[in-house]
Symmetry: C2
């Protein structure tokens, strides 16, 4: 096959952050030819793809020129110039996820409408063009607190999502198009990563349980498998399979879900690429999410999603109050811990809550996983 | 620490074959700065280390110039210019394994004498300067068939080892210095990978069972854990720990052993670097042998050697009768197999029995591991 021998097919990745880096690393196991583009020479994926090119992901010309060097094109971030992708599609470049599906997902308003139109369960919502429109709705009691407000575009890593309990919090909100969702009574937040290829094969990983840091509104850690009933596990996987099939996405679709207090599953949001909730799969599943994404976009047979060992994944975040050239304080104390694998993304500079790496802990007992995590939190920090 | 932030320490690897590639991949998880040197631009590690330099591993000047670019230097093959390493050591480069220990190991005659002098159990042996000297010993009945004859230097991947049953086989033997060993009645061949750092920490992986292809005299597949008694497992680990401590090697020492019919352990031979018998550790143990080698040579805390899942590792070898640009025939049939991870080294050309990659199969049942291997052998081959 032309991926593995001779004049190899060239796989382009739009974006060269940590997800791009880990895609490049996964591609290296098969010696694939990869290219990545991003705005900064200091990108994590540089050096871990066959070719790195500097360019602006939202610039039509830059994306077009990059895509023309590729046979197959994928993304590690949704915020890319979609018009260029449509042009590249016309020119015969194979693009996964398709520009059509990227457009359905990267605007959270369109994403919610898609769920509604295709009977994919999701919380009730309303769209507003700007903050004033929301304020009018509040005055006329069409909306009331508490509510979840999300910016329709540009949100990332928990940014752009606001849980609003009272009117004073509105001042945090920029004056842009928003989605307002009912605040649902949640038992657990889980995520299921689904994968599809052009042959129509679909597989799912088991749900992971996302435990959030309430202050940062970022995933604090995740547990695999999720501590939910086997019925809920099966229902979540069926819902993720239905979702990727409905969007008709090749490669990965990460489906974040709420398990409500009443035991129902609601889709929170989706991402058509490798996802923070799948990092454990590098160590804890047969096939990593990154290799699975490659399989999907290259139309190769999908890999075994089976869990080999229960795991906990925690992000390595820049400590508050530190900005500048990074130092990994105490790393010597944690590198030798039982069951522990440390990943660093190579970012030169830290800032508060920046994702600098992640740690996977493997153990058959959940108490041990959490105890190791606690030890790491007490002995290791990312400072400047 | 200077490995992870700021002006990073530069780690050089002499050799850029598949072991160098996998060392580079392991280093990428920590974003380490790596350099590798080898004679051909078409080396597997090129593209998977930070810098690749072309040079002859046995040339004094090439090794010296390469080493002077490095803060820490290691090897993926023993056949390197040791005189240059001694000079680099004087100049302050940190070299692991040390040139002293490389000299003790790469000549199998000196290696056997080291075992004998340090009471490390090994089969009885005699050294001969050339084939004529062996023939004289046979005529005077100081030697008799069957016997194991090994070239003292330059053997690799099963080449240079001859099990001789009768006089006619002597014609295969080049006229160079040799070791003659008694042919031991073997129950199993096993390998234990030990690791040490400069702090004096020592850890061992569990023994793997090496199942040989009798024709190629190459490892056909290996099973982890080895199907031997828990007593034998413990004894093998103690022996490997003693061996690495006695050689005083930092990084890895792979210790190949015979478990004799009488239940004794004898060291067959050792290699001070990542080893074919440890490839399963990438998928099946917490810490891969490649990351463990980095930990050892960089004097970092050693990682957890624990087995996460039983596994079978098989080499992907070039099929007989095919030489030339490689094609992976049937790869589409095996990529989706349960529990299976395929690794390709990216060599452009195949030749009979050349190591082109490896496959790790994970399963809790040994019968399933062997059944998957059988399926792979029937559906997949490396042709030209």
């Amino acid at each position: 096959m032309q991926y593995f021998s001779g004049n190899k097919i060239r796989l382009g990745i739009l974006g060269a952050g940590q997800l791009g880096k880990m895609l490049g690393q996964a591609a290296s196991d098969w010696h694939l030819h990869t290219l990545a583009m991003d705005a900064s020479e200091d990108s994590p994926a540089k050096g871990y793809v066959t070719e790195f090119l500097k360019g602006n992901l939202t610039d039509y010309r830059d994306v077009l020129n990059f895509g023309r060097k590729c046979d197959v094109l994928t993304i590690e971030i949704e915020n890319v110039n979609v018009e260029a992708l449509y042009q590249l599609q016309k020119e015969g470049v194979s693009i996964h996820p398709s520009p059509q599906s990227i457009e359905k997902i990267r605007d959270k308003g369109i994403q919610k409408e898609f769920f509604l139109n295709h009977k994919l369960p999701s919380s009730p919502f309303r769209l507003y063009d700007n903050k004033e429109a929301l304020e009018t709705a509040l005055q006329t009691q069409k909306e009331k607190f508490p509510m979840v407000v999300k910016l329709r575009t540009g949100g990332y890593d928990g940014k752009g999502v606001f849980i609003m309990q009272e009117r004073t919090q509105l001042s945090d909100l920029p004056n842009v198009p928003i989605v307002v969702e009912d605040l649902v009574a949640i038992e657990k937040e889980i995520a299921v990563i689904a994968a599809k290829n052009t042959r129509g094969e679909i597989v799912c990983y088991d749900p992971v349980e996302m435990v959030f840091d309430p202050q940062a509104n970022l995933v604090d850690y995740l547990l695999s498998p999720a501590r939910i009933s086997s019925t809920a596990i099966q229902e979540a996987k069926v819902l993720a399979e239905k979702t990727i099939a409905t969007f008709d996405i090749n490669g990965l679709l990460a489906v974040e879900m709420f398990l409500t207090k009443e035991g129902n599953l609601l889709i929170n949001e989706v991402a058509p690429r490798p996802h923070n909730s799948g990092h454990h799969s590098i160590d804890a599943c047969v096939t990593s999410q990154f290799q699975q994404h490659l399989r999907g976009v290259l139309n190769l047979p999908l890999g075994d999603t089976q869990i080999i060992c229960p795991s906990l994944m925690m992000n390595i975040l820049g400590a508050d109050n530190f900005t500048g050239p990074v130092r990994y304080h105490g790393i010597d104390h944690i590198l030798g811990l039982k069951g522990t694998n440390v990943y660093l993304y190579g970012k030169s500079n830290t800032k508060p809550k920046r994702k600098m790496g992640h740690i996977t802990i493997l153990d058959h007992k959940i108490e041990n996983l959490q105890a190791t995590m606690q030890y790491i939190k007490e002995h290791f920090s990312v400072v400047a």
